[in-house]
């Protein structure tokens, strides 16, 4: 199936939803503040574009820094645990305890502790993205055939070398799928944290627009956030197919 053919169905689906949307507004006389019409949202996006892009830039910056930070720490930690099982056993209860708190519950703590600036959002994103990557990385690193590990050992390879040559590449698909899931989560968590308190960003725009009864702006910001998430996700999926080539 060609790329164009693959696109036909989702586009068809989107058109149906758009038709239902517009139809509902007309038939039920839904007021703009409950469900604005699509052209009105498009117009709001066009009119507000510079501000929306400025907000998006802040949100993406926070999401990106937190994502890279969280991902890197998660992979490093997973590797350290594989290299030093004793460390893993000692630290696991702490990790489980931290992870069993739903990530949004940390948002108020992060805001009070790190302030309203980007630091609190970056910390939140790092935590959320980090756990998604960590769980997958651990699974990937541990799912390796013990016979393959034995083979490496018989060649005289140490733990470090086994990780580098065998475990890390073998765990790559799992790590990459963790990284992929973490992308959308990062942006959403950044927005959630911004909505609770921020100087800038899409989430802060949504919060202010909500409080100032500027519902078209709320919709505009949501559409921009969603499109940005989808674009990044699509981009990553594209890179992923090239990165894990041996499947």
């Amino acid at each position: 199936m060609s790329a164009a053919q693959r696109l036909v169905y989702p586009v068809l689906g989107l058109l149906v939803i758009a038709a239902v949307w517009e139809g509902a507004i007309v038939v039920f006389g839904i007021p703009t503040f409950v469900l604005p019409s699509l052209p009105a949202i498009a117009k709001a996006i066009a009119a507000d574009l510079p501000a929306l892009l400025a907000g998006l830039r802040v949100t993406l910056y926070e999401a990106a820094v937190g994502y890279v930070l969280g991902g890197a720490v998660a992979i490093a930690l997973a590797l350290a645990f594989v290299l030093a099982p004793l460390l893993e056993r000692a630290a696991m209860p702490i990790i489980v305890a931290v992870n069993s708190v739903p990530v949004v519950a940390y948002a108020p703590v992060a805001l009070v502790a790190l302030g309203m600036g980007s630091a609190s959002k970056i910390a939140m994103v790092a935590l959320a993205a980090g756990f998604a990557v960590f769980v997958n990385a651990m699974n990937g690193l541990k799912a390796i055939d013990p016979a393959a590990v034995n083979l490496m050992r018989s060649f005289g390879a140490g733990a470090l070398r086994t990780v580098w040559i065998l475990r890390l590449p073998a765990a790559l698909p799992a790590i990459v799928s963790g990284l992929r899931v973490a992308i959308v989560r990062s942006i959403i968590i950044a927005i959630v944290a911004e909505m609770l308190g921020a100087y800038a960003g899409l989430g802060q725009m949504i919060y202010l627009a909500t409080q100032q009864v500027d519902f078209l702006r709320v919709w505009a910001a949501i559409v921009v956030a969603s499109v940005a998430s989808m674009t990044l996700y699509g981009l990553f999926a594209w890179v992923d197919r090239r990165l894990v080539w041996w499947k």
């Binding site: 503040f33 100032q212 009864v213």
Partner: protein, 332 residues
């Protein structure tokens, strides 16, 4: 939507939270502008003490939150009443075509003020010039700009940043001037032991922006004016009782929203009552719509070009309901 309403009804009925309420009473809801706290004591008191029931109403008090606003919910019909923001928010909503009307105004005076440390050299709002000032962009920013304009300080002359969550940036001196709600953040500063700072009250510079508007949908006024009257009667009675029995009122709030700090809530209610029973509120009664003040606020917004000159105070407010509230329910 009808299906979801049905599901809601079934769930709510099942949840037993509403079980046992009088079936004859008319069910309405009021949306608060923030999470439950003593700022809204009057509504909780009216419900708890049966003031609403006496008016034939079964009122559900719905708290607000960071991603809600009462104006939209009342306009959409999700809630019948709301305690919304300042008059400027009401006017802005009307400018956007929301069919909402103000029927009472809880705070007769500007609830916000500004704080700066004594050693910062800031002696008056004139000195805000060139400083970093944080404020709430949900209405309080209008007050700030009005104060600054009294000292010929333009919006571009100060660095204004959004404020939320915590007073820590001010305490840590990351910002020079912070906005405080007299009934909330100011008290937070005191309980945290912060000293040696000066409070600049907007009110002292002739900037009087009444706040906390009780709003209702135009449609409800047209269709069931007696319901609007009943709600306002009960609410004003609740507020008068709350202002006069503050300990009891706070206990009622705590019962509804467990987990709040009692001392903080008491201080909040005390300060809130002062702003409520002030100026025309003292003279005429709690919740009065001070048309002179409100007109002045509108003018200052139009002057600053943040409000369309076509929006009029007259059509945004319906004082006749408050006027009809029995005097013993509102006069302190």
């Amino acid at each position: 939507m009808r299906f979801t309403a049905l599901v809601t009804a079934a769930l709510v009925a099942g949840a037993a939270s509403l079980a046992g309420t009088a079936s004859a009473a008319e069910a309405v809801s009021v949306r608060l502008k923030w999470v439950a706290q003593a700022q809204f004591a009057g509504f909780y008191v009216a419900k708890e003490k049966g003031f609403y029931a006496a008016e034939g109403l079964d009122v559900t008090v719905n708290p607000g939150g960071p991603n809600l606003n009462g104006e939209t919910l009342v306009a959409s019909g999700a809630d019948q009443f709301a305690l919304a923001g300042g008059i400027e928010n009401l006017l802005a909503s009307r400018g956007k075509g929301l069919p909402i009307v103000g029927i009472a105004m809880m705070l007769q005076r500007t609830p916000s003020a500004y704080v700066a440390f004594n050693d910062s050299g800031i002696r008056s709002p004139k000195d805000f010039k060139g400083k970093k000032v944080s404020t709430f962009f949900t209405g309080a920013h209008n007050t700030l700009y009005a104060v600054l304009s009294k000292f010929d300080v333009g919006a571009a002359d100060v660095t204004v940043v959004p404020q939320a969550v915590s007073m820590a940036p001010f305490i840590d001196r990351q910002i020079d001037v912070a906005t405080v709600m007299l009934f909330n953040e100011l008290n937070v500063l005191k309980t945290r032991g912060v000293k040696d700072f000066t409070v600049f009250r907007a009110e002292d510079y002739g900037v009087s922006f009444p706040s906390d508007t009780v709003i209702v949908n135009e449609k409800l006024i047209a269709e069931r004016p007696q319901t609007v009257q009943a709600f306002l009667n009960g609410s004003m009675r609740g507020w008068k009782y709350a202002a006069e029995h503050q300990e009891e009122a706070v206990d009622i709030v705590l019962k509804a929203a467990s987990g709040l700090d009692r001392a903080h809530q008491l201080a909040m209610l005390a300060e809130y009552s002062k702003l409520m029973v002030a100026d025309l509120g003292t003279e005429k009664g709690i919740g009065v719509l001070d048309m002179t003040k409100l007109g002045a606020v509108r003018q200052s917004l139009v002057d600053r070009k943040v409000l369309d000159a076509g929006v009029q105070v007259g059509s945004a407010l319906a004082p006749r309901f408050w006027d009809a509230v029995p005097t013993q329910y509102k006069k302190p």
